[in-house]
Symmetry: C2
Subunit: 398 residues, 2 copies
């Protein structure tokens, strides 16, 4: 049923065009788990549809807007407007309302930073949501950390996940994963909508990972001359080919190597060497990971690229050194990103076919993993799953 | 000038009624420091007015709403609506927009939890804002902590501020302040709009306080039979007199004493005794502080009540024991709360006149401080200042 509905959705350049649904929506609506406490709307049903509701007694046109696709809402006699979306993928989605042309957040939903703004957030329950659920297990901490970065000459902020036993064993030191967000996102994304802390808590409780620290910094990059801020692509979408729209990652590269890592090593109990340092990121953060790790093989030994390209063998200057230094190259995508009909491919420039690149690296003797998130696109559910698959592979045998 | 304008504002039951201003607003508008990155609106001017702007091309009526007071906005030829408020107090204010009757957040402002919802937030620059500014000083951390509370039988969340040298000296232990929010607020308030972490960082950098841990928990209390949730008073407003509308603090009292404090003492390097434990709160949190500390004199030695009542001598069962155990009773209000013409008094039931109560406790030999925040009401600027005055008085000579 779910699959049938999903195949009825055609992907078109610039967004989804939903075909008319002949079926009535399944009548099993429940308040979304992301709602503000006590709020009954938005609701979601078992098909992944979103039903929004707002009181707007004098309004003429009200619409639900999910990632730029608008769904009509209709007015009842009490001045409330209500309307449903087509089925959405499982997991987190940014959305908003349009009230007589004003694009505003939904006062009932919660808020997350995504696509360059604080936006309303609706969570579609997922079949595998247990891995990022809040459970009665020992929890790590997510720490908000301010510091001054000399290289960037700025007050910087990051969020640092420390595992549950970090404070219990003051003599113990931990490996570190530097985990980067996407374009138009910020340092809050991985712990808020990405659920990085809860994913780690649950993996640690199950004994599936070597506990490590996660550093979530702001890796916002200035855009290149071919990609003006106005009219920039939606959240997390990397720029595309042909020499235009390239991001310049050099300033963040300097900040990461010269400000962030030294600060973290000085202020957290890290194992401050290459073998115990990983770099990963989603979308633009995956492109940054690829670009920076290839230049700094003495700094990172684990590389994770989520929906952000891959590494071709011809990009590796010295395969022998690469093989010796790099313990893992992990490449992942949402399954819909790999669909040839989709324009939301999310592959970085020059990266080629990610599956073929992974196979070629494997053939060259590199430890590589290619992961595809089922039935998801260029969105957080792909990246939550990617972290969940990636984390258990890190820092083994050290 | 500022004073003249402010005295032209008459306080009426249920809200402000702004008298017509003959003067034109001062033309020195600047984007509010609380705006989302890059957003030019809302703006504020030197009189503390707020100027909001939103694109709503099909709308008929758009208004700016600050704490329930609506200000008209007018439409320009491009479909943008713009409008100014009357002068507001310095500091933080919750606000929203009404678009054809839909009460929505402003997509340009940032969001904070206040008055029972995520709301837009505008920051009016204050003459004394330096004490809560982000500066290049050593910073503590604000840690998001999840744990299971057996007494409350619930997953609990708190934010814990640890001072800058907490991780530098793993053998050192610290005193703790338990700092409570107001009615319809939550555990995020003190570190977000309250700026508790930055206030402490700056005080510590100036050598003005004994560094201590701050625990910010959710002290939401069920409302009593006389005060239904619908129609409840605005954010932070305590219920009023006469046996109706009383909060029941017993469930939070049990949670604090049996869940929160034992968890903190087991998981942070606290000095786990009465002499090194303080309890303070704002509005309802001040009432909780008063109620719980009087019952648990063996648990807390410092008491801070911000806009939430005071302690009368006849409420102290054993003044000799109280004098021995309690090192400080700190009571504070915004100056406008003490204005007899104001209905926003914010004094808890049975507390009487706070200044007289403080004087009586002083006469009984108790170390008491009464602080009045200049030109502020029942609002965060009063409470930021209260914390800033209170913190240096804690844990001296221990």
């Amino acid at each position: 049923m779910k699959i049938k509905i999903l195949t009825a959705i055609t992907l078109a350049a610039g967004g989804f065009v939903a075909l008319a649904q002949t079926n009535q929506p399944a009548d099993d609506w429940k308040p979304a788990p992301s709602n503000q406490p006590g709020q009954q709307y938005p609701q979601v049903n078992s098909e992944g549809r979103v039903r929004a509701r707002i009181r707007a007694p004098q309004a003429q046109i009200v619409q639900l807007d999910i990632s730029g696709v608008k769904f009509p809402m209709t007015r009842d006699t009490n001045g409330f407007w209500i309307g449903d979306s087509t089925p959405q993928d499982q997991g987190n989605h940014y959305y908003g309302l349009a009230v007589d042309g004003a694009e505003v957040p939904d006062p009932s939903g919660s808020f997350i930073w995504g696509s360059g703004a604080w936006r309303s957030d609706v969570e579609i329950p997922a079949s595998d949501q247990d891995f990022y659920a809040l459970k009665n297990v020992p929890h790590g901490q997510v720490r908000e950390v301010h510091y001054f970065g000399k290289t960037s000459n700025a007050d910087r902020r990051c969020f640092v996940y420390t595992p549950p036993d970090y404070d219990k064993h003051p003599g113990k030191r931990f490996p570190v994963l530097y985990l980067l967000h996407g374009y138009n996102e910020n340092e809050t994304g991985w712990s808020h909508q990405g659920r990085a802390g809860l994913i780690m808590d649950n993996l640690i409780a199950e004994g599936k990972v070597t506990p490590f620290i996660i550093v979530m910094e702001n890796s916002a990059a200035p855009v290149g001359p071919g990609l003006a801020p106005r009219g920039a692509p939606p959240a997390g979408t990397p720029p595309r080919g042909g020499g235009r729209g390239l991001f310049d990652f050099s300033s963040f590269e300097h900040a990461l190597i010269e400000d962030v890592i030294p600060f973290i090593d000085a202020n957290f109990r890290t194992i401050a060497d290459q073998q115990h340092r990983a770099l990963a990121g989603l979308s633009m953060g995956g492109m940054q990971t690829r670009s920076i790790s290839l230049k700094h093989l003495d700094t990172f030994s684990y590389i994770g690229i989520f929906s952000g390209g891959s590494i071709a063998t011809n990009e590796v200057a010295d395969m022998k050194a690469f093989k010796k230094k790099v313990k893992l190259v992990f490449v992942s995508y949402g399954s819909r990103e790999l669909d040839p009909a989709s324009r939301r491919g999310g592959r970085g420039p020059n990266s080629g076919d990610p599956k073929a690149n992974v196979a070629a690296l494997k053939a060259a003797g590199i430890n590589c993993v290619f992961y595809v998130s089922p039935d998801t696109a260029h969105e957080w559910q792909s990246w939550r799953r990617s972290l969940h698959e990636f984390a258990p592979l890190l820092f083994k045998n050290h």
